[in-house]
Structure formats: structure tokens, C-alpha cells
Amino acid sequence: MSMSLLGIVFGISFFVVTQAQTSGFEVFFIRTILGTNGAIRVSDKFQDMDGTVSKVSYNGSESFLFRSRENARYIEGIEYPQLVREALREFPEVSGISEIIEGSAILDSGARKHTVQIHGLRIKDHIMVSELQNQLIQGSIDMLDTDRSGVLLGSSLAERLRLSQGDRVSLIGGTENQQLRVAGIFETGVSQIDKTRIYLDLSTARSFIGKPFGGSIFQVSIQAPEKAPELAAQMQETLGHRVVGWQEREKVWLEVFKALRLSSAITVSSILLLSGLGMFNVFAIMVIEKNRDIAILRSIGFTPRDVSAVFLWQGAIVLLGGIILGSLSGFLATYGISKIPLRIRGIFSTDSFVVNWDPSHYIWAIAIATVFVSVASWIPARRAAKIEPAKIIRESL
């Protein structure tokens, strides 16, 4: 029985720890991606808006019907930024709008070259829709604001090109080569971004790319990021532009995280399952070993319910002990892990283990343990209750 208790303690504690880790990385990823690419992006304009989205009202609550956009024809980018911006302002949930023009080029530091993704934007607007200000590890936002030829580089990019603040670089591949000065270096934590992205002034970027008007996208921040899908659908309908929430944009990654979390939950649950089986085994043997005692108790007037209660109580005590000790050790282990200095450089980077504190991890662990322990004690308890005293007494004489 103490083995089962130990198993339950371990099971619950592992469950909590692994969930805290996997969901910690997920939350970290979401935060990073929200802080970098924003909650909602408005891009290409549709040429026809017929029958793609329709609003239905049912019992006063509104919902939207979507149709495939695959065959819809569109014009690349936003044609009339001012109009779209004004339309977006009509949404009370919108807390910031940043116009971005995207393109690619080669950045030349003199000694080395690297392909980069240009993000031309107004820095004052952009810090409203991103965490860029916090992501800066060198330089400052203001410099980009005052200096039309300033550029912000992703940290890995800067490292590769051996660049730091104040260095001169040239951007190659546009209408004509553009001389720039490194105003700062940012690190988002998402390696793909840190490796290739540069931020520069919107008008500088426009003239480099050769698109003086139109063709841009909007990065929009909203007050409640979890409501992005509904809001994006609403915006898409009113704006006539493609509007995508971050959940849809990062769907692949979000699903990877979900699968990771689920698979670790299943793996760790097997510890709980094994403890449950062990417990079942102990109880099943106990019922057989104690059938004489059970028969005595029944002959004295104890009811089948009294008999099964003995087993259920034992199960409940072990479960309760397991829950308390397991949750506690899970909590402490999670705390301990969050303090482990660990440099991760992969899909994203962090300097310590990321953990997410969520009561639902504990609730799930407890629920799974409870199910296994209940089954493990309920079946033997029922067996014990069904023992016929006369039969046992006759047979043991």
C-alpha cells in the first residue's frame, strides 16, 4: 500500500511538473509571439466580399459563418491605409495600430552579408502593438524615431554580422542601396525572428522597396488577445481585408504545444495507472486473505456496506495522502525547476526553465489519480461486500 502511495505521490508530482513545463513554454511562446507579431494582422484587400462571411443572430447572441476564402481574389496589401486605420479605430477593443511594410533585402556590414526581412514601420506606433521596447538589448527607440536612417537588428543577426550600436551598414537589393546606422539591437526570443528581422522607418523602407503607396499590412493590438479570432472575423467583414488572429497565424506551433502537453500528460498518467493497478492488486489479495474476517463481521451484523467501506476508506486515505504530498512536492519541484539556470536556444530562447503556474494542472492530476484509485478500491470493495458469510464459515471449518 505504501508503494501505491508513493506511486500516487510521484504520479501527481510528475504530472504537475511536466504540465508546468510544457505549458510554461507554450505560454512563453504565446507571450513572445504576441509581443512581436501582435494579436491581429490586417493584410490583403479582397476584391469581392460576397458570401464569405455572414453574421447570424441566434437568440440574441451573434456568431459568424465562414466560407472558404481560397478562391477569393485579392489585391496584395492594404491599398488605402488611412481608411483602414479609421475603420479599425471604430473597434473599441483595439488598443494600438501599426502600419508595416515588408520586404526582403541583403544587409551588408562590409565584412559579411546576410539576407534580412525588412519591417518598415513608425516606431511610435509599433511600440503600442508590441513589446519591442522591452525586447531592446542595445540602443533605444528614440534614436530610430529621430534618425530616418536608423535600423534595429535582431540579436542573432547582429551577432553574425558582428554589428553593434552605431555601426554603419548598407541595405542591398532595393531600388538603390541604402546606407543605414545601427540604432539598436532587439531580442524577441524567437530565433527565426532574431536571425533575420530588421526594423527601419516606414518612409525609408517604402522608398527602398519602391512602394511609395499601399502594399502595407497592419499589426493591431487588442485588449483581450484571447478574443482575437472573433474580432478578426468581425474586422474582416467590415474592412474587406484579410484579417487573421494570432491563434490562426500560429496554429501549427500551438498544435505542437498541445500535442506535447497531451503526450506528456498521458505518459505521466501511466505512473498513476500503475499505482492504481498496484493498489488494486493489494486490495484484491486483501479481500481473499481477509474473507474469514469479513465473514465474521457479516455474521455479527455488519452490512455489506460496512465491509466495502473498510476498503473504500483505505483507498480514500491513500488517495488523500497522495494528493496532498503529490501536489506539495509537485509544487516545490516546479518552483525548483523554475530556478534552474538553463540557457535554451532553439525555437525560442530563455535563460531559465519556463514554468506556468496553473491550478488546472493540479486539478487534472488529482482527477486522474482519483479515477484510478476509485476504480482500484471500488472493485475489490464490491467483491468484499458480496462475500457470503455462510459459505466462508462452512468452508473454513
Partner: protein, 231 residues
């Protein structure tokens, strides 16, 4: 109506045409073929007969541990066939005490805890139940051994503890299946005397299965059985 049933008041338990069979594989063993008798309070009735004649089977039916194939048992005038399992279980606790050939004590418990069990079941608090158990054990000369574990007692002592447990809830019916079968003559005499004493003192009807003709002789009544019938 028979003559006896006129004064049913005194009659504690009455069996009517009890039949019981065991199915063993293909064959059917008819253990009881129609047993009728009655027993009154404060009387000790011996049930005797060859091995396999159905004595134990009869006792388990009377003790409501088993239901007869047919026939009826009246306990304190109440027909038992209709009683639910819950009612029968409650009656076992309140009105019936069992003593078996082997003492059937719970060895993880002390003597007094064993004796206190039926009291605990009927709702008596722990302390009071243990006090009552001590009292009973004292009367059975086991006062000093009340706190010993059941398996650390001699056979005779264990049987006396079993009797104390059977008596703990002041039952009106005590069923004893060869309670002395496992004891030497001195011990067996002692146990028998105790049973006689309690029957008189507490107005208990005792049914006693025994292979000892001498003891059977000393009982108030004797029911001789053969092949599932009273002869």
C-alpha cells in the same frame, strides 16, 4: 393450529418444514429435508446426529446467514422469509449470537476489541463498548487477558472470548456449532456451564450442536437428526 402455537409468547424461534439443498456439480445434496421445531428463551437445546446430517446447515439457516430453499423461520413471531437482507443483517446484530467450532476471532484485534465489535456495530461508543467488553470478559474469567491479541490466547480462552462476543449485544438467541469440539474435557465442561448459566440468567434460547452425548444429556432438550430430518 397446533397446541404449542397457543402460547407463542414463550417461543423465541420456530422452524417450519425447512428444506435446503446444495448443488455440487451435477448432483444435488439435500442437506435438510423438512425440519420443524421450536425453542424457547432460557432453554438450551442440543442438536445431535452423525456427521453430515445437516446440523450446521440448520444452524446457519436459523442464524439468518443463509436462506432456506423452502419452509419458514419465525423469529420472535416474525416470518423471516419476507425479511430483506438488511433486516436480517440487523437482526443478526441485535438478536442473534454465534459461536463456532473454531473461534473465529479477528486476530489483529485484542480480546476486548473482538468482544466490542457487535456493540460498535449497534452504535455504542468506543469507550463504552470496550468497558462492556471488559465486564463480560471478567465474568468469563478473562479479565486479565482482555488486552491480549486474540491469537495469543489458548483455545479454551479463545472460545470463551467468542462466547463473550456472541453475548455482547444481549441476544435472545445463541447458536453454537460444536463450541466445545476443539477443547479438552475440562475446558469443554467449563464452556458448557457458562452457556447454561447465561441461558438462565439472560433468558437466552441456546441451540447447541454437539457430538458429545454427555453434554447433550445435560441440555433441556435434545433434537436428534439423521439425513436432514429430525428423528
Amino acid at each position: 393450529m397446533t397446541k404449542e402455537s397457543l402460547n407463542t409468547n414463550d417461543i423465541l424461534i420456530r422452524a417450519e418444514q425447512l428444506k435446503h439443498a446444495f448443488i455440487e456439480g451435477e448432483s444435488k445434496v439435500q442437506a435438510l429435508r423438512g425440519v420443524s421445531f421450536e425453542a424457547k428463551g432460557s432453554e438450551v437445546t442440543a442438536i445431535v446426529g452423525q456427521s453430515g446430517c445437516g446440523k450446521s446447515t440448520l444452524l446457519y439457516l436459523l442464524g439468518l446467514l443463509d436462506r432456506p430453499e423452502s419452509g419458514e423461520i419465525h423469529l420472535k413471531g416474525r416470518p423471516m422469509a419476507k425479511a430483506t437482507d438488511e433486516e436480517r443483517t440487523a437482526l443478526r446484530n441485535e438478536s442473534i449470537g454465534f459461536v463456532f467450532q473454531f473461534h473465529f476471532l479477528i486476530k489483529e484485534l485484542t480480546a476486548r476489541e473482538n468482544v466490542a465489535l457487535p456493540l460498535r456495530k449497534s452504535g455504542v461508543g468506543e469507550r463504552q463498548a470496550l468497558e462492556q467488553a471488559d465486564e463480560l470478559l471478567n465474568r468469563l474469567d478473562l479479565g486479565e487477558k482482555a488486552k491480549r491479541y486474540a491469537n495469543k490466547l489458548s483455545g479454551g480462552e479463545q472460545q470463551r472470548v467468542a462466547i463473550a462476543r456472541a453475548l455482547a449485544n444481549s441476544p435472545s438467541l445463541l447458536l453454537a456449532d460444536e463450541p466445545t469440539g476443539n477443547l479438552d474435557s475440562a475446558n469443554s465442561d467449563n464452556v458448557f456451564e457458562l452457556l447454561m448459566k447465561f441461558a438462565r440468567e439472560k433468558d437466552i434460547a441456546i441451540l447447541l450442536v454437539t457430538h458429545n452425548p454427555e453434554l447433550a444429556e445435560r441440555c433441556d432438550h435434545c433434537i436428534p437428526m439423521r439425513d436432514g430430518l429430525i428423528v
